[in-house]
Symmetry: C2
Subunit: 434 residues, 2 copies
């Protein structure tokens, strides 16, 4: 076992998730247990951009109360970026900053682009003979990182979306209108994991939304009735035929559409192709509005409404899954332990125990195997009609949405973590990024 | 005191709110206390439509557990309708059903259209010499009923929207991009109460979203920066100038726009002018996407994203305000008490105590004074720049979002009430509505 001693740097990258701050808390908590090897615990502001600009904060100065509150705080407490490090000057600068601050442990919490950056930093350090341990922490609501069973962030957004579908569906059913089409557009980029997760709203308890039932007996939930995945090219005839079929047996038809759905020609539904003048009629934005207008245009007397939660869905920490929060924290801890054990150029992955009850352990995977890979929603989970989800997916995803957080409130709103963010003194000249 | 004896009928109407079922629970709980006068407690399915079709259920057969669960169940457990009773045949039929089932107490939980219907039923019963006590229960997320200090339903959606703005704003701030415009379209029809309520997200604790602050110190919240109300005609030049101004001092500009905002010519922003609902109200809903395209069209390099929660916002019982739930329940109880005391043709109103701490009492107001009235967001609460909200509104609204529910979960999702919905035997011939 190598007895490397030095400072630790942790940073966050890409789109926030409800639990990216839980991973940060896990890294800090574990690092605090190893003061012989980890002298200082630094946070890089706004991801790798903060490293380039030498904007580091001293995380050991945060209170225990703040660290606890990170478990339910949305956004990304250190800030993130989408800056793509490409130039060799940038990589040189990163190593200069690491050397200047004796950074020997680097943990980047992010998706595949970020792990690609981490891989390059690890390789460069090795090439230059600078001893550095780089262990990444997985993060994405899209659940599309390869190898890991699932990604921290996914379970919480899946839970929020399933709750939202159930709530909306109860509202839809209560309205007692027939021929109502309720559309929910969800995130996920080019992977259907989040869209599929809305079927976790299904409940088989007595009662359903069929026309023979009164609204008050609708504890059971058959919504969503149609799920449109990016992995399945959109076919408007097949879609409209399915809507018609659902409306024959139900008071309403609930459609979930992924933002990444494309037609056979590869065009995103309702993509904004506009350059409208300031006073012109706005082009409808997004897949949900596109489907609303398609449905209303095709069927007389059918009403449709579209909702698009947008950024609200990935920021909904108030509906976080306790399982997801715990696992995000665990991944942060595991990254620090792995680095202390001599690993570098790796990312933490989650491996499912395979036994009942559900459980996970953490493994390590070379960053190169993660970087820039994408795990599409698998064929085996797509229903036969291409617009529904196979029950095996429910068995996969249901454990990930279990458990709720106890969140402290202040004046009617959740009380979030607020880092004191004590700056580490600069040691280098200023640096200009592109 | 009149000692009328007979059966009670309760029904729900219009768009569901997070607490319309709490009012139902309040009616049932109070009615159960008066078995000498109230013999049976019936629910009308799907509002007045269920009365017309003689679709009644026996609510005394529900368990206490079910009644308790109504306090956190979205939708409307009895179902609602938007059917407008106009024909005299319809009114005749309603009285026939009441007579057939010895209905002597009628409580309609709904907004102004519904209270208009209730007023007409009360008047007709009096005219025909049929002894009937009609006391309405207020309900609307839009908070636009006259006379009452506020409406059950408003506080819960206000709380959900304020939480959503804070969560989204933390995400926006974390991204570390400058020149980002985040747009949230909210409900409220032609009244700005819900749009205004998003300023409850403002927090003055140290830190804000100004460019001099790092994301991690942004516990304070200045979002939303711009609030567009239906009461203020939209002026695109003034709006765009304000966006530019906000972006000079902040990493992002958070815009809340009411679905009911109109330009000076009276056109809804991005509205689908082709369709109207059963009451002739224009179907609203493209304001957010309209602004997104307006902003991106005007400013080079500025990115904008729009979210539209749609029905999800009025169904978000998981974020209900305990204060709102308690008051909705109280209004249900008060309606029953008032009817037993001999009142008819009245609606329950909430009157604020005017002292600290916040408290309310219930009063009664003739239905005629409520029916079809609308309380616009008042001038005194509109900020000087017409795109912000006066602090006096916060003093008005903050008490309404206080407190959280403890919701039971089952397999990762909230566990809702499921009425057993035992049907009352029909006594009349079938009836055809329009």
């Amino acid at each position: 076992m190598s007895s490397l001693q030095g400072n630790l740097l942790v940073a966050q990258s890409g789109g926030p998730t409800p639990v990216i701050n839980a991973s940060l808390a896990g890294v800090i908590a574990e690092a605090l247990n190893h003061e012989d090897e980890i002298v200082e615990i630094y946070g890089g502001m706004n991801g790798i951009q903060g490293v380039l600009h030498e904007e580091l904060i001293d995380l050991t100065q945060e209170t225990q109360q703040t660290l606890r509150a990170l478990l339910h705080t949305p956004g990304a407490a250190l800030g993130t970026c989408r800056y793509k490090v490409k130039k060799s000057e940038d990589f040189d600068r990163i190593l200069q900053v690491f050397e200047a601050h004796n950074i020997r442990f680097f943990h980047y919490i992010g998706g595949n682009d970020s792990q690609d950056t981490a891989a390059k930093i690890a390789a460069l350090a090795q090439e230059r003979g600078y001893e550095l341990r780089v262990v990444g922490v997985p993060k994405t609501i899209d659940n599309d990182l390869p190898i890991t069973d699932h990604c921290p962030g996914f379970g919480s957004v899946a839970k929020h979306l399933a709750i939202t579908v159930r709530e909306m569906s109860l509202d839809n059913a209560a309205m007692g209108q027939n021929d109502f089409v309720s559309i929910l557009e969800v995130m996920g980029r080019n992977a259907g994991w989040l869209a599929a997760s809305t079927v976790l709203a299904h409940r088989k308890e007595k009662g359903d939304h069929s026309k023979s039932q009164s609204p008050s007996t609708q504890y059971g939930c058959t919504a969503p009735h149609i799920v449109l995945l990016p992995e399945v090219p959109f076919n408007s005839d097949a879609f409209l035929a399915r809507v018609e079929e659902v409306l024959k047996g139900n008071t309403h038809c609930f459609v979930v559409v992924s933002e990444g759905v494309q037609d056979a020609a590869g065009n995103y539904l309702g993509a904004d192709t506009s350059s409208t003048d300031a006073f012109g009629h706005a082009v409808l934005g997004g897949a949900g509005e596109y489907l609303r207008s398609l449905v209303e245009g095709r069927f007389d007397g059918v009403k449709a409404r579209a909702s698009k939660l947008g950024i609200a869905q990935r920021a909904a920490s108030h509906n976080a899954s306790k399982t997801d929060v715990d696992e995000a924290y665990l991944c942060g801890q595991a990254a620090v332990k792995a680095a202390l054990n001599g690993s570098t150029g790796q990312m933490v992955t989650l491996v499912r125990s395979g036994k009942e009850p559900y459980g996970v352990t953490t493994h390590l995977e070379p960053l190169a195997n993660i970087a820039n890979g994408v795990k599409a929603f698998p064929e085996k989970f797509i229903g036969e009609d291409r617009m529904s989800i196979h029950p095996d997916f429910v068995r996969y995803a249901l454990p990930l949405i279990q458990g709720e957080l106890q969140i402290p409130y202040d004046q009617g709103l959740p009380k979030y973590a607020q880092l004191s963010a004590k700056r580490v003194a600069r040691k280098l000249e200023k640096y200009e990024t592109a």
